[in-house]
Amino acid sequence: MSQPDVLALREYLGPELKGRTISDARHVISLTDILGHSCLIGRYRELSGRSVMLATSGQLQSALAMIELDGIARRMLLCPPDLDPDHIEALLADAEIDAIVTDRPLHRCDDGAYLVVGAGLPERPGAGWKTERATEWLMLTSGTSGPPKIVGHTLDGLAGAIIADGAARYQNATWATFYDIRRYGGLQIFLRAVIGGGSMVLSEPREAIVDHVARLRAGGVTHISGTPSHWRKLLMSSAVADFSPRYVRLSGEIADQAVLDGLARAFPQASIGHAYASTEAGVGFAVNDGREGFPADLIGRNRDGVEMKVVDGSLRIRSHRTARSYVGTGAPQLTDAEGFVDTGDLVELRDERYYFVGRRTGIINIGGLKVHPEEVETVINRHECVRMSRARSRRSPITGAIVVADIVLADGTDAGRHETIRTEILSRCNDALAAYKVPAVIRFVERLDLTAAGKLTRADA
């Protein structure tokens, strides 16, 4: 029951492209002859038409299983590494999972209710599978509060921006991302590597940045993507000096001018783009002019079939790249009646350009006046000694809340200069921001943590 009109990942993995690989810190797997092999162990031939949860310890096993099962399974649910075990039972039910692919012992799901198939390296002969169907790709939202929502995509929608860019231009690219490929931002890069005919170097959890960059260089990485927070961390490290990618991409958070300029200085040979995408809305657009924000003429219907509008200050997107729905009983509507996804990202129009000002849910309320932490951080990040900053709310008995800022200074900043720098930052904030937006307290910290999705940790994220 082969469906020639449905494209699955295997269609992009013919033997004609030589030398393609996917690697992590331990293994380098050839993609050239991947279709002749199977990474699955046990009764894997029964996975056809099943709703499969991919719950592997590493990204590599998931990547190989995605390649093997796309077009075969009814559904694939990608489990990111930080998934709370307490949520798994509800996810299994909501996604109607009946098979699990894993390389770990199962504690809660080994009662025979699920077909359990092992995941390993492609060391066994392949099943010779032909694409049978358009597999549903299920991903989890990355919010930190409450159980994650399941978001349903198709490969067609996930790859929309890649095809629109002209996948073939990436044929000699080796991709990397600081993200985990089991989340939307990382999956985009994995798909760019597979569909574009390139190779990929995967990230490793808790790997020191120096070691990661050494692997990126050894793997010949040419195209690399991460959040602005990821990039700020890299720019802080001396490892950046030895690395020279051709294409640098930012997504997942607001790319402010300071980080764009920092990257342009660090990688003078690279083209630098920031993309707007979310698990629900898909890829909206990419901006390659080196400036923060995006041109106002992207609002409306653009040539790639993506339609955007701004309602009540928030960006709304409609395209075939948006997710099809939330999955599960009692799941909320993902789009409005007209098919638009409300991204919750607020924008402001200034001089024919839209600028992101923050998330609707992240607003700090100072005695009734609203502050976006991101607008404060943007001003702070312009100071040449600042590497990263986080503005946040602190409760106040007078105004309900005040803005405070945690700041990471550049390596080697003399501690004796802290007071001067604090005064300079406050003075710049006073010049650029309304008084209630100026941080009441500035704290210099050694580091700021990122979430598993590579975003700055915010209490209200």
């Binding site: 100072i366 409760r395 008995p397 007078i398 105004t399 003075s427 006073n430 307290v441």
Partner: protein, 81 residues
């Protein structure tokens, strides 16, 4: 530095940042005559909490906010450390 001097020093710092001209600080000066608005007081209370380790206005739920500089200082002096 005494609690009083630390409070005065923090007030002068905030007055400079906010471009407020502070009158001579005395115990009987009404807080509303300091030139500080509620935001300036919010900043002051936050910084004093970092400096002195206490926020007397959050600890005591029913505490009336002081009306003079002297009462403000006593709120800090009277909190058991």
């Amino acid at each position: 530095m005494s609690v009083k001097l630390r409070i005065f020093s923090a007030m002068q710092q905030i007055a400079e940042e906010q471009k407020v001209t502070l009158p001579q600080l005395r115990d009987d000066l009404a807080l509303q005559d300091t030139g500080f608005d509620s935001l300036a007081f919010a900043i002051l209370v936050a910084r004093l909490e970092d400096d002195l380790g206490i926020d007397p206005f959050t600890i005591a739920e029913d505490a009336a906010f002081p009306s003079t500089v002297g009462e403000f200082i006593r709120a800090y002096e009277n909190v058991p450390a």
